[in-house]
Amino acid sequence: MSIPAARPSPSDRSAAGNAAANEASPPLLSVEGLRVEFPTRHGTLLALDDVSFTIGPGEVLGVVGESGAGKSLTGAAIIGLLEPPGRIAGGEIRLSGRRLDDLPASAMRKLRGREIGAIFQDPLTSLNPLYTVGRQLVETIREHLPLSGAQARERAIELLNATGIPAAETRIDHYPHQFSGGMRQRVVIALALAADPKLVVADEPTTALDVSIQAQIITLLKTLCREQGTAVMLITHDMGVIAETADRVAVMYAGRIAEIGPVAELIHRPKHPYTIGLMGSIPSVVDERERLTQIDGAMPRLNAIPSGCAFNPRCPQVMPVCRERRPELIDTGSSRAACWLHDASVAGTAAARAASVEDDAAVLREPAKPAEHATASGRPQ
């Protein structure tokens, strides 16, 4: 199942991938204070506001959030495919130390596919219906790698084999409509990995697929990326997919990162009240609860983002400071959360409140607790 490497030393890279946890190794991708805005007739909308994170070599970073949180926009900004009038208004994006956000479109086009691969939600719209998948693969390979037509075709067949497409030698000459949804997504993955990129941005890669196919695609993406040492930015709204795939998770809310940290930490010991609510609102097949945790209200619109912490109108533990000042990401042990509850200097009661946050997290982990804790809004203040 392994893809033949186009780079001279793939083993070095996978070794680097194993050392992803090592703090000393420089990040593959670093995003620093990224701001994306949309100028409109009614003023400028700030869609991403001061987003910073890093992805190490070979690491899988999950980005979750509800619709409108800005997760897809973050991905689009990284691969340089922001839809106009959207534009990067500040901050910088660096891949292996090289700045991407101010590259001209032509340089970005060369880099896209070669250094950064992309996988989108709908496999049918990411493939050209008029060309055979082989032609599309060969075109991508020859664009980025110095291979002859015959060699490129050979590599295309190997890629299709690696992504688990049966009878790749004949399937290569078929058109996208002749493939099923799951098979098409395999072709898209083959395309994304064709030039052996260092980073793959996968935006909802399994959302359009059935559960049994979803499992196949996730396993495939995971295996291929681990073998090649490719880092993945996995954007999805499905916490289940993240839980099984990602090393670290960033939770986004209203254009900002609310919490970021190792996957197990975020799921079992969430720190930000939004993450706590989000985790509790997901039904699970392993526990049984009378009610799901409910976060009342909805994500604010971009033109009406509340002052202070954007989550404050929905937050069950809101304090006066939350309405006035915006919290930055604060260290809470192994993860970081943008929440005043974790800033000891803010209020005398902050520490006590933080403790009660952890209690609530315990309620979420323990299935059969009385319903009084269950409603976020009904929680005793």
Partner: protein, 348 residues
């Protein structure tokens, strides 16, 4: 739960039951003719193509109970839902609500019966008329069934219904586009309750919603069920959601129910290999880093289903009998029913 389940094609055993369930479905099937037009068939010798969307499905739902149907796309779960509310007429079989056959009743009696059945659709953006105010959307069933006389009484009832689903009476004067997805789904629920329906058919009611909003809608549906003693048929592809809402679960594969069991039995001891596969395949938040066993293969083309048990090409336990003989739902350990030769013979 004294649920009545008849194996596909067998004579009805419903007469024997004293206290009848609210909904009884007996061997319903729906065949769609997807053939090419007549002229093409004659000139190009294309064959007739019949799509067996639903092929002999039977179940019963007690009052106040939630039965969930799960399955992947194309398994026929939505077709079952549509036959239950009368949007499709079954090719064979019978749907009866409270002892009345849905197909036989017409005229005022039919309308009185249909008042008791309502449907909630997947897409809250498409299922509300964008040019109508919420007041008119919710009042429509009241007007159609002449449940209240006088505009003042109707207005008051609409306000009451809006409060019932967690919105405010002033929302009646607004249009659907002024609401978020979750709020729109609340309006759909209010509309369904406006006719004092007892049985709600919910076809993927939360799949278009974000998780936190999904939690709001699922909590609301559960509260309403308790208050009004509603009966639900809940269609979903999301096993975690089904685990949260259902009392009993039916698993569908290519137009047939392959396993029907009380929720706890189904999730604790799944019998049918397809159910086991589905349970293995779902990613779950509370199981990080669990090794999963993805199952090979995809759902076959329903136009040309495999012989015998339709799951046999993907089944690790298939043998000669599975390739030839179609299994029927039979009692399995744990109080459920399974259509599988291997389970019946004790091979798995």
């Amino acid at each position: 739960m004294s649920a009545v389940v008849t194996p596909a094609g067998s004579p009805s055993v419903l007469e024997a039951v004293g206290n009848r369930p609210l909904v009884e479905v007996d061997g319903i099937a729906k065949i769609f003719d997807v053939s090419a037009p007549w002229l093409n068939r004659v000139l190009e010798r294309k064959p007739r193509l019949l799509l067996h969307a639903v092929d002999g499905v039977s179940f019963a739902i007690e009052r106040g109970e939630t039965l969930a149907l799960v399955g992947e796309s194309g398994c026929g779960k939505s077709t079952v839902a549509r036959m239950l509310v009368g949007l499709y007429r079954p090719t064979r079989g019978r749907v009866s609500i409270d002892g009345h056959d849905l197909a036989e009743l017409s005229g005022p009696a039919g309308q009185a019966l249909r008042r008791r059945i309502q449907m909630i659709f997947q897409d809250p953006y498409a299922s509300l008329n964008p040019r109508w105010k919420v007041a008119d959307i919710i009042a429509e069933p009241i007007r159609v069934h002449r449940l209240l006389a006088g505009e003042a009484a109707i207005r008051e009832r609409v306000g009451e219904l809006l409060r019932h689903v967690g919105l405010a009476p002033v929302d009646a004067a607004r249009f659907p586009h002024q609401f978020s997805g979750g709020q729109r789904q609340r309006i759909s629920i209010a509309r369904a309750l406006a006719s004092q329906a007892e049985f709600l058919v919910c076809d993927e009611p939360t799949s278009a919603l974000d998780v936190s909003v999904q939690a709001q809608v699922l909590n609301l549906m559960r509260e309403l069920q308790k208050q009004d003693r509603l009966t639900y048929l809940f269609i979903s592809h999301n096993l975690a959601v089904v685990h949260h809402v259902a009392d009993r679960v039916g698993v569908m594969y290519l137009g047939r129910i392959v396993e029907l069991a009380p929720k706890r039995t189904l999730f604790a001891t799944p019998q049918h290999p397809y159910t086991r596969m589905l349970l293995d395949a779902i990613p779950d938040v509370r199981m990080t880093g669990r090794p999963r066993t993805p199952v090979a293969g995809e759902v076959p083309n329903p136009l040309n289903p495999p012989s015998g048990c339709t799951f046999h090409p993907r089944c690790p336990h298939a043998n000669e009998r599975c390739r030839i003989e179609q299994p029927v739902l039979k009692h399995a350990p744990g109080g459920g029913r399974t259509a599988c030769h291997a389970v019946e013979e004790g091979r798995i």
